[in-house]
């Protein structure tokens, strides 16, 4: 069985300790979380937790079954990659060379150079540049970036 990333979306009761309980369960059973996001959901009193978990089918089955055992976990869905559009948003602050006596134009160009380097490294698309801080966003397909 191959190790794959799975996106698991859960609805949990929105109350203190639930994140600790879920994260603790995944940790103590040795499951590998790639990422986790938590936020309020469209249903009042419930929060949505989305994990990306790496493992084979057996691991995935255990993760889902073990999560089901938590009383505070209401609903669990293993999102099928065929039908899921995944987006990740990344905010990057790039440190560039020190401003020196050269012209302002030169300075921007040195910043742009650093930024280009980062963009090429991650195969990103440039969205916006601010003069003091340079922001870059990119939408990329999660599973492809893992290859």
């Amino acid at each position: 069985m191959s190790e794959k990333s799975h996106v698991i979306s859960t609805l949990v009761e929105h109350k203190p300790g639930v994140l600790q309980n879920v994260a603790g369960l995944l940790n103590r059973r040795g499951f590998n979380i790639d990422s986790i996001t938590v936020g309020t959901s469209e249903v009042e009193g419930l929060a949505r937790m989305v994990f990306v978990i790496k493992g084979d089918e057996k691991v995935l089955e255990q993760v889902i079954k073990q999560l089901h055992k938590l009383v505070d976990v209401v609903k669990i869905k293993d999102l099928d990659p065929e039908y899921v559009l995944k987006r990740e948003l990344c905010l990057v602050k790039v440190k560039t060379g020190k401003a020196d006596a050269r012209s302002d134009n030169m300075r921007i160009s040195s910043r742009q150079k650093s930024l280009m380097y980062v963009m090429i490294l991650f195969q990103w698309r440039l969205q916006a540049i601010r003069t003091r801080l340079i922001h870059s966003w990119n939408c990329l397909n999660h599973s492809e970036s893992r290859k």
């Binding site: 300790g17 369960l25 055992k69 009383v71």
Partner: protein, 565 residues
């Protein structure tokens, strides 16, 4: 009515007659209100024993056991007992005091995050912020602890909530939208299971603790008779069918009976019910069940396929699923097979040797003496160690809930307090605690508890002056380097018991031991019997990491004795 009164009333409304506890700073309000109530409280001498006693109570009676302790150290002392109940799926409720709400998080005196500490070892936990929620929280906690896969629930009650006046006492429920245990088996799976069992040539049943929790003794027996399958059990399933019966082949596993260990791999269809295939039961998984199709019935879906690959999973309550299965099987005629007969013959020819006349007594002989002294209604509890495995291996138990032991966690010190809980739950049954000298010393202070509350428990302490189980491993696998396992400098146990006002006696003769035990159990009085045993007598085992058919050392059979006994 205040919060503490609400705890007491809700517990009593749920049918609790006794709780086990120990007072402290943050539960003084509760104890003040307990003073005027009819709820019986057993004052233990260490909080760990309150949790073990609650579990013994639960295991003996099938009801929910309740223990209570203060915040901080009181709560952390409960942890071992809660973990034990979690591993063995025992329905207990642990109530702890907590510092007043506005101090929580400030490292207040005797503050500890007990909800956080016990998160991995409880089924669920609550911390009421409003006394009006207490009745519903207790009601829901009972529901969670005693349905689905049973387990411990913790309720952490801040001090001021215990003192808060309730507007109204309502025994409602706290919504638990995520909690929906599956009770009935999927009927299509049941039909398939029946077909697999009918066509199996060498079926075998493995019954675990889940069958006892579900009260499925009759059903296991019935299925076994219908399909002509012998029944092996795990440690926790001991007693689900009468072990004296032909169809029972006893405990399977690391210290299992030869008839179970040597035959389990021959089966072509294993019906596993309410067990979790622990490493102590299966041995090396690659060598376990090479040719069998596995049907696994369990109330916890997470146990199915966790350790052993399963061909047919059925999620549901063991008693109800087996009832469904019986309906499906009934009417079909399965003849007594050569397989069943071969197992019965195997059992007869591999009766473990228990008869010895050596002095000091061999542990096997001690178990034989115990077997002669108990009835099928005697509740036997054990601690953890060699004596536990001797009892599990050599002592035949005839009814469910009559053998109470610490399985998954393997907690030394469990046996004696569990016996206290069992006796409180079943005052009409004789209770015998089989313990070792090591484990007993961890909880010997509870002699004061049984004296004060007049709880008659007979303690058979097998004294080899060793930490026996580790001593055995050191003997067999660590070149006889006996590091820190000698307990030679133990107290005079007779004097120790007498100092608590408990009768005690040293016994160590063949047949005499049985007489003394028999009288003690019949008289319904507490007594500590110290039985000196041979230190170098070990329990048969497969080596850790070994397969179920491996055997470390020699297995002694009764037929080896000249003339037999």
């Amino acid at each position: 009515m205040r919060g503490g009164d609400a705890i007491i009333k809700a517990l009593m409304d749920k049918g609790v007659d006794t709780i086990f506890g120990y007072p402290g700073g943050t539960v003084i309000p509760f104890y003040d209100m307990l003073y005027d109530s009819d709820l019986r409280h057993i004052l233990v001498r260490h909080e760990q024993c309150a949790a073990h006693a609650a579990e013994g109570y639960a295991k003996a009676s099938g009801k929910v056991g309740v223990c209570l302790a203060t915040s901080g150290p009181g709560a952390t002392n409960l942890v071992t007992g809660i973990a034990n109940a979690y591993m063995d799926s025992s329905p207990i409720i642990a109530i702890t005091g907590q510092v007043v709400s506005n101090l929580i998080g400030n490292d207040a005196f005797q503050e500890v995050d007990i909800m956080g500490i016990t998160m991995p070892i409880t089924k669920h936990s609550y911390q009421p912020k409003d006394a009006n929620d207490i009745p519903s929280i207790i009601n829901t906690s009972f529901e969670i602890a005693s349905t689905g896969r049973n387990g411990p629930v913790l309720i952490d009650v801040p001090k001021e909530v215990q003192e808060q006046e309730l507007d109204d006492y309502v025994l409602g429920t706290i919504p638990t939208p995520g909690y929906k245990p599956t009770i009935r088996g999927n009927s299509k799976q049941i039909v398939k299971a029946a077909q697999m069992l009918k066509s199996a040539e060498r079926p075998l049943i493995l019954a675990g603790g889940g069958t006892i929790l579900a009260g499925a003794g009759e059903e296991v027996k019935k299925v076994s008779e219908l399909i002509k399958a012998p029944v092996a059990t795990t440690l926790m399933g001991k007693g689900i069918v009468d072990e004296k019966d032909d169809l029972s082949i006893g405990m399977l596993g690391m210290h299992g009976k030869q008839v179970a260990n040597q035959n389990v791999n021959k089966t072509d269809c294993l019906l596993a019910i309410g067990c979790r295939f622990s490493d102590r039961t299966t041995g090396k998984l690659e060598e376990f069940l090479p040719e069998a199709k596995v049907i696994h019935i369990d109330i916890d879906p997470a146990e199915i396929g966790k350790n052993v690959a399963v061909d047919l999973p059925i999620v549901g309550d063991a008693k109800i699923v087996l009832d469904q299965l019986i309906n499906e099987l009934e009417g079909s005629k399965i003849d007594e097979s050569a397989w069943f007969k071969s197992i019965v013959d195997f059992k007869k020819s591999t009766i473990p040797r228990v008869s010895y006349d050596d002095i000091p007594l061999k542990p096997q002989q001690v178990i034989k003496e115990i077997a002669g002294a108990i009835t099928e209604d005697t509740i036997v509890t054990t601690d953890v160690g060699l004596h536990q495995m001797w009892a599990a291996h050599f002592l035949d138990i005839s009814k469910p809930r009559k053998f109470i032991s610490s399985g998954g966690l393997g907690t030394m010190g469990f046996g004696f307090p569990a016996a206290i809980g069992a006796k409180v739950a079943c005052p009409d049954d004789a209770v015998l605690a089989i313990v070792g000298d090591g484990g007993f010393l961890m909880v010997s202070q509870e002699l004061a508890t049984i004296k004060e509350h007049d709880i008659p428990v007979v303690i058979a302490m097998l004294n080899n002056r060793k930490l026996g189980m580790v001593y055995q491993w050191q003997n067999k696998m660590y070149n006889k380097r006996y590091s820190e396992t000698d307990l030679g400098n133990t107290p005079d146990f007779v004097k120790l018991a007498e100092s608590y006002g408990i009768n005690a006696e040293k016994v160590g003769e063949v047949d005499k031991t049985q007489e003394v035990l028999f009288k003690a159990l019949k008289d319904n009085e507490s007594i500590l019997l110290e039985i000196t045993i041979e230190k170098d007598e070990f329990i048969p085992m497969f080596p850790p990491g070994g397969g179920i058919n491996d055997l470390l050392g020699e297995y002694k059979y009764e037929k080896d004795v000249a003339g037999g006994k």
